[in-house]
Amino acid sequence: MDLELFSRAFENLRRQKLRSSLTLLGIVIGIASVVALISIGDGFNKSVEREFEKLGSNTLIILPGSGLATSFFAELDEDDVDTVKSVKGVENATPIYVSSQIVSFKEEKQAVLILGIDTRDHALLEDLGMLDLNEGRLLTSSDNFSVLVGSRFAEDVFEEELYLKQNIVFEGDSLRIVGITKAAGQSFGAMFDNAIVMNYKALEDITGEDLTPFRIFVKAVNKEEVQEVKDRISRALERAHGREDFQIMTASQIQESALSILGLIQLVLVFIAAISLVVGGIGILNTMLMAVMERTDEIGVMKAIGATNTLVLQLFLTEAGLIGLVGGFIGYSLGFIVALVGGVVASSSGVDLIISFEPMLLLGSLGFAFFVGMISGFLPARRASLMDPVEALREE
């Protein structure tokens, strides 16, 4: 590669900075979308992977309702948990109950989520990464007025931070905080982060409600058998309910559905990126056409004093490529910032996005932007290279 070509092309661009900078916009947006898209997609994949590392690929989740119509009415019940536990290939199963309630701390009242768990299944819950103690102790089956709170809950819900051994008042009863769980940062863990956790029997007693499981978490003996276990559970529950008013999700299924949402976002971004790149390309084409016209006499001089058509072509292609490159660099930076911001926003709503700097993505964006610039600049550059020097010099 001829370095002189680059410095010459760069010099030429510097002298028409405003027009070039307007031209950049399309490329910037295009590359920024692509970079944001890839970074977020990557981050999402990584976090989904990480989540399932914790949850384990031998985990199944049963939820009530099979479709939109039945999901409002369908219920799971306590017996279902026993049914599931007795299915061949199931190691263990545990229900999670959910209730939305008003609790108070000191003078302050807040609407919060209370999760009911079966304390006998601590091992499984821990295994699933939902009950990771930060301080204090776990619950026992006799803990009727003792609760755990998530670390996020402890910090954020009330004006004052909650500590161990403090009491929260719920329906006139004092609930004592005996443990605080660690921040989990992934979807189910995040639910525990933001809630009060207690014995589900005690939750039913205090509220007087007859709760039904919100989810049943199932652990298969081995992960090769997950599909078979799923089918067996499905048959057992269908027999018990008389119809299929439940859904069973496996880790790989959850991953797929998460990725399909991501796929939709990606599609939109790809669309934006494609349009911006086309617009940017046309912008570069236009800028280069104007440059070639304005510099007709210069091209004439260059050719008269010995510049070959090839060199003129290369010079203008390089200029166009450089416009793309600069746009690519700005676009990359912007896209990466968007991804970082997206990561922060996503995290605050419970979805963990792991945004990391990938040198290959930077190089790829720059190379791609340079390429887009060169493609867009091809026609103008060709026109410049084929100019007749005498004609070009004649124009004033």
Partner: protein
Amino acid sequence: MPADIIINAKNVVKTYDMGAVKVHALNGVDFELKKGEFVSIMGPSGSGKTTLLDVLSVLLRPTSGEVFINKKPISKMDDNELAKIRGKTIGFVFQTFNLINRLSAKENVMMPLWFQGVPKSDRENRAEKILFDVGLADRINHKPSELSGGQRQRVAVARALAVDPEIIVADEPTGNLDSVSGEQIMQLIKDLHKNGKTILMVTHEEELAQNAGRIVRLRDGKIVATDVVKKKEINVY
């Protein structure tokens, strides 16, 4: 012993096709330029001087006829090869200077050296030296717009000399200059000839044409006379 013929034109015709009308700028011109010669091309405006100069300096392809550069026919060469010949063997000086206004004097002079693949530091040294030789040592980094007409033309001469070409081709080099600057440029060209350069110059001033060893007179695209100038001056060699 016959001198080497650098440029040889045989029955050159150049016709500009303007759609409805055809302009016959050159109507069968034969011409030889020998190494070390100084030839002036004279003629009234529109007689085809510039066209002939452009054809002889392989900037323009003739409609018919052939031009040989160092015995090689240009009709067999592609545009890139012609550009290389121009870049290496011919130095151009134009009536309107044709400097690149965005670039400094030095950068203008460096440009043809870039086309010849001369490394950057060598280009700078050479450009500075030549600008010094043409008396512009203190204007090296000035833009053309910061220079007088005479100075601009000297930059153009410096640019023409940068690659040390065999031939200097000048199309009315003093046409846009005042008489003092014009004389200085003319002196520069005469010095170049004395130092061995082959000179091909278009002018419509008889007095300037007399500096050459031979004057070719054009009218309506044809050579109507060739005068050999008798040397009144004392020859240096």
